[in-house]
Amino acid sequence: MRFELMYESFFKIIEGIPLTLQVVSISTVLGLALAIIVALMRISGRKSMSIPAYYFVYLIRGTPLLLQLYFVYYGLGQFSFIRESILWPILKEPYWCGIITLTISTGAYSSEIIRGGILSVSKNFIEASGALGLNKIKTFLLITLPITVRQALPAYGNELILMVKASSLISIITLMEITGIARTIISKTYAPVEIFLVAGSIYLIINFIIVLAVGLAERKLGTVKAN
């Protein structure tokens, strides 16, 4: 073990934390919006909505994230009509390619979490709400949504942690986040064990904070009852 090297590389690797957090938080927010839309399409009861949503989720969950990232970054750039389109200024940047891919990925996975949450809301509540004279929209906002959030939170916390880890893949498209910097240091120092231990601990710390935050939210929302 080269402890001095671990100490030195720690300060280099933490320079990648802002990029990791940026990419994760932007794609999580965009992905959550996408997930809500997809989940509502799935349970809409209209085939024209639910079938596309079903195949979208099937396609994204069924293929590796690494492949999706390669496809968006290297694949789309191969077509001259894309390179000449108005989308190219965005697709040209590895940063946006990373965010787009992660957004689509978390959108697909989270939509299933949200769908599960919505379906778990008891019919009795909906009927009771109707009896109280609340219309459909009010029922959704005041009854279904709060219960869904409470039910879906543990699974969604899992998804957040997976997102932090998945973000390490964007190092393959020239983005120097935590893993990217770690790999660069390894290729110069030939010390994979030391450097990956440092990078791994940084991920552990980030995910520890997420676990704490989700736990706090669960207690606030009453997902877990204090014993």
Binding site: Y74, G77, K92, I172, T174, T184, I186, S187, A191, P192
Partner: protein, 278 residues
């Protein structure tokens, strides 16, 4: 049950015998290569490892009366895997540099090629005119600084690609003042050059020339001088663990023979369309 017993006995015997043979005799040499660095070493359409270094390795192994086995390894882990014993030799277009000699040793150089900048003909860099045809980094900085600063002026603020942990990345870090993009492999850098994500790339001339032969690389052009010497190293050699001095001696002898009888030149002509024997 009986078959299982036989199998186990067979396995034990073969393990022991292969250990005994490997001990000092080098009847079997495992060669680590990247398989993504055309025409040095790459993977063809059917998934086979091919390239100049694969042909050369087979020739050298014949001369050393050894059996060769190729092991594919990503570039960024290629030196640690040698040190950890995943294979015994690196033949992966790796230049002999002082920096790498701190960790591993090298055979004598078997091929040598300069580095150059490449861009596409729609980029403004394609019209760059360099005063000097060569940039020899072994020369005094009073000779080289003019060429380097004219390169820097032309590429100011541009995205320039290099492959990670290469002599080219070291050159860029030492001499260039640009927005540097590092790629895991040459192939990925080629894609981004053609797509216009980077303005130029710095790499070995053979690797770029083999891109220029393909239809997607038809717009790729070179600019600036041939760059060699200094931290770019003294040419490409076989990486060997520092302790294996006997193996190094075997490779040095085989490389000298292959160079003397024209084998290296022949392989070089076949893959590089030019003679890059040392």
């Amino acid at each position: 049950m009986k078959n299982l017993k036989l199998l186990i006995i067979g396995l034990v015997i073969s393990t022991i015998s292969s250990m005994a043979l490997a001990d000092g005799h080098w009847s079997k040499i495992r060669i680590g290569t990247e398989g993504a660095y055309k025409p040095w070493n790459f993977t063809d359409e059917s998934g086979n490892l091919v390239g100049a270094e694969l042909d050369l390795a087979r020739d050298l192994c014949k001369r050393m009366n050894a059996e060769c086995e190729f092991v594919q390894q990503d570039w960024d882990g290629i030196i640690p895997a040698l040190v950890n014993g995943k294979y015994d030799v690196i033949m992966a277009g790796m230049s002999v540099t002082e920096e790498r000699m701190k960790t591993i040793s090298f055979s004598d150089v078997y091929m040598t090629e300069p580095a150059r900048f490449y861009t596409t003909n729609s980029n403004s860099l394609s019209t760059f005119k360099s005063g000097d045809k060569t940039l020899n980094l072994d020369k005094d900085s009073s000779v080289t600084s003019g060429t380097i600063s004219s390169l820097n002026n032309a590429m100011k603020g541009m995205n320039i690609g290099v492959t990670v942990a290469t002599i080219h990345e070291n050159f860029a870090n030492e001499y260039l003042d640009v927005n540097l993009k590092t790629y895991p492999t040459q192939d990925e850098m080629n894609l981004d050059l053609v797509a216009g994500r980077i303005d130029a790339m710095l790499c070995d001339t053979g690797a770029a020339e083999s891109l220029m032969e393909t239809s997607s690389g038809k717009d790729v052009v070179t600019f600036g001088p041939n760059i060699f010497g200094g931290l770019l190293g003294s040419g490409v050699g076989a990486g060997i663990r520092q302790g294996d001095t006997d193996l190094k001696a075997m490779f040095d002898k085989a490389i000298a023979e292959a160079n003397a009888d024209g084998t290296i030149s022949r392989i070089s002509m076949e893959w590089f369309k030019k003679d890059i024997a040392p």
